[in-house]
Symmetry: C2
């Protein structure tokens, strides 16, 4: 994967996963394939599992172990209240940053233009 993308995912991947969990619990392997389906084709499996451990330890998700017909038991993660709040803060932070960056994006298109 591009180095730029790797760095850019820092701080956003956690929010992305929390967003994926809104309303519908999911387990690690499932989340990995979900991410791939959504265009994040090159995210390493280990990254996702490490992230899940982290958000569990931060208390943002509840975990339930369920047997699988194929392979070891699944760990199903569901967003709890604290996770919901963290996600809300994530959207705030994201909006703040995205807004300013988009402004820069537009400015760099109109080379030489100045705004009041």
């Amino acid at each position: 994967m591009g180095k730029q993308m790797t760095e850019m995912l820092k701080g956003t991947l956690e929010g992305i996963v929390l967003a994926l969990l809104t309303g519908k619990p999911a387990y690690g392997y499932e989340i990995t394939t979900l991410l791939r389906d959504q265009g994040f084709a090159d995210i390493a499996e280990g990254t996702v599992y490490a992230l899940l451990v982290r958000i569990e330890q931060k208390g943002l998700v509840d975990v339930e172990k369920r047997p699988s017909e194929k392979g070891p038991p699944r760990k199903v993660y569901s967003l709890n209240q604290q996770g919901t709040q963290e996600l809300a803060e994530f959207w705030n932070t994201w909006s703040f940053l995205a807004e300013r960056i988009e402004k820069l994006h537009n400015n760099s298109h109109s080379t030489g233009e100045k705004q009041p």
Copy 2:
């Protein structure tokens, strides 16, 4: 500053600074105040200088030392060809990520969640 913002700036701050340099060279102290003016009030001075050292060593900018009437000489950075290309790749990466995250943002609004 929020920990979320700190992590989110990883991978984007470099692009932000490169974008600030398009068309108009600037020196470190100036860039710091520019960032503050644009809403990034809490970015540490040391962070900016370290970043400038990095992009200089990566060959993304040209540097010229100019005397200042007030204080030590300034190091004026200007985007060169390689930096321009890196910035273009940054916008590609950013657009890719922002598009997918915005999609998630909209979905989380329309999945039965209530909004303020």
